[in-house]
């Protein structure tokens, strides 16, 4: 009964994407117009003549009605033209392309480790609902949600870099004395591995440890809690009760339960990825990571509006893609849909 409905839903979901994009661009357009003052003066300077101001305003298209401006703006972003960053004097698109891999590398490892640690821990605490580990997990769940990630990162730097000298300091993605690996994917660890550049791999991995550990500690509880509750629900379900009554071994019962707890786990992994894009902003700032998040912060602090606008738009597109992927993953794991 549900397969046809879900297929319908998914196709509607895909058809919705352009509409969502349009609405998101409208929001960003309105947002930019919240800016105090007249952007014309950013280009003319404060002492320009009235004629000069009128000329620049015409050049920028600011003398046109708002809806015409919006259409022009849509045209420009359709061609990938987000303007120049006032801070880096580069096209914003070039800036984004340069910084995106840094953020993706951070988020990728954070998601992978959150799932690798969070899911087994969630399953375990669902199966054994008592004991020290369970209490520890409960305390961890409460505290990790309350601690600011940027503060946790600073404390981790103090302990592991300053006190113990175990890990490198917050100087970005790779040691300054080690040359970057040849650019293939943009992810330093992957590129270093592909080209067999071991010093770069060691340095890039070392730099990743603290920021990734911070993100995993703060955001993993999302995966853990949801896995546990999904697993608990499944263990209480009728088909697991039946499996138990039929005398199937415990391990088999748990496997059945986990298989059916997968959809909520996949959803929460999507939500986690979405969360991490926001969480990366502050952690990147602490570790001088040079990614999208740090770029966003620098554009806010320096009133670099073209850059900020592009980051916000990108983050919304990223969100849509993530949730689209989550929906598609449902098709792959739920045999009823095929």
């Amino acid at each position: 009964m549900s397969s046809v409905r879900l297929l319908k839903y998914a196709s509607r979901r895909l058809a919705l994407l352009p509409v969502q994009l349009l609405l998101v661009s409208l929001i960003v357009f309105v947002l930019v117009r919240q800016m105090p003052g007249d952007p014309t003066f950013l280009y003319t300077g404060p002492f320009a003549t009235t004629e000069r101001v009128a000329e620049v305003r015409k050049q920028l298209g600011l003398d046109e009605p708002t809806y015409v401006q919006y259409v022009r703006y849509l045209e420009r972003i359709a061609y990938g033209d987000f303007g120049l960053s006032m801070r880096t004097s580069q096209p914003v698109v070039a800036d984004l392309r340069q910084r995106l891999p840094a953020t993706m590398e951070l988020i990728l490892y954070a998601v992978v480790f959150s799932v690798l640690i969070g899911v087994p821990l969630g399953v375990y605490t669902a199966i054994r609902s008592k004991g020290a580990l369970n209490r520890g997990v409960f305390v961890y769940g409460m505290t990790s949600g309350a601690l600011p990630d940027f503060w946790f990162a600073l404390v981790a730097i103090f302990i592991f870099f300053y006190k113990l000298h175990w890990l490198p300091g917050p100087i970005g993605r790779i040691d300054l004395l080690i040359s970057k690996p040849q650019n293939i994917s943009g992810l330093y660890t992957v590129d270093a591995l592909l080209t067999g550049n071991w010093p770069a791999l060691a340095s890039a991995s070392g730099q990743l440890v603290l920021p990734v550990a911070t993100l995993v500690f703060i955001y993993m509880s999302l995966v853990l809690k949801n896995t546990r509750s999904a697993m608990e629900d499944m263990l209480r379900s009728e088909f697991v009760t039946y499996a138990r009554a039929a005398g199937l071994p415990r391990l088999m019962q748990w496997r059945y339960a986990l298989r059916n707890a997968m959809p909520p786990i996949i959803t929460v992994t999507g939500i986690l990825t979405w969360f991490l894009l926001g969480g990366a902003v502050l952690v990147e700032t602490v570790f001088a990571w040079g990614g999208l998040g740090q770029y966003a912060v620098q554009s806010v602090v320096n009133s670099d509006y073209a850059a900020l606008q592009a980051v916000v738009l990108f983050s919304a597109v990223f969100t849509m893609v993530i949730f689209l992927l989550v929906d598609l993953a449902y098709f792959l794991i739920d045999p009823r849909i095929k």
Binding site: L31, L154, V155, F161, Y162, S315, T319
Partner: protein, 304 residues
Amino acid sequence: MSSDNPSLPATPLPRVGQQTAWRDFLSFTRQRGGFQLGLAIVALSLGLAVFGPHIGPYPTETALPGMPLQPPSWRHWMGTDVSNMDIFSRVIAAPRIDLTIALVSTAIAFAGGVALGVISGFFGGGRGVPKLLSEGIMRAADIIQAFPVFIFALALVGFRGPGTENVIAALAFLNIPYFLRITRGAVLQVRERPFVEAQRCAGNSEWRIAFVHVMPNALTPPLANISPTIGFSILLTSGLSFVGAGVPVPTPEWGSMIAIGAPNMMTGQWWTALFPGLVLGIVILGYALVGDGLKEFLDPVNKR
């Protein structure tokens, strides 16, 4: 019912009223240590928001004479920062601005979210203008929630400029969809109850039924959400201030204090950022505990 069965001894029915509710609340609280801890932290934070800036041993926005970056001692319990300001005095003064932002923005988000949630929940699935209104509200909420929270907050403040009012506006705007969805969910259940039909028969207008009769019965879930939202707002405010997009610098605020202390953490003066963040974490934990406790107390399923 006892009147149907005269053989049962007449037992006084429990009085349903404020006193009983209060007694329920007290006995509930007595059984839960985490909830008590949360209430204590919340009360303390509110007390500090009122008195904090006046009870510290040192001024909160001026540098003291002498060497900066003094470690914690009897004179400076949490040490001093890079401009030789007393960290303890500033940490207990910070709730003034942090809680003001969190409370005001949450109040606005609550009012706006509940109103919109009642409209979208009560008129959803109907016909005509109210139905369009309901759909429009939900789609708008979808779009607002399509942006990662912190990036959107950063952008709102970025385009409007830093400052307390703009942080409040951004947080209120971001939190409205949460209250909206929770309220809508509750309204969708309440509107199916028979008393709504009875009010309709009595000749009440739809809007009157929605706001006078349905809304009060759908307030429990959004009310239980207030406390965690306050905690979340404090966290966001501190994050914005940490990167210089929130509360401007000399004002005592936890996030900006952590930012001031950040470079010192890498050179060994751990007290500069540790204490503001620790207190911030404890306060947010307090609001989360109160939220959890209230949710459990108000949830009719979990009531004995």
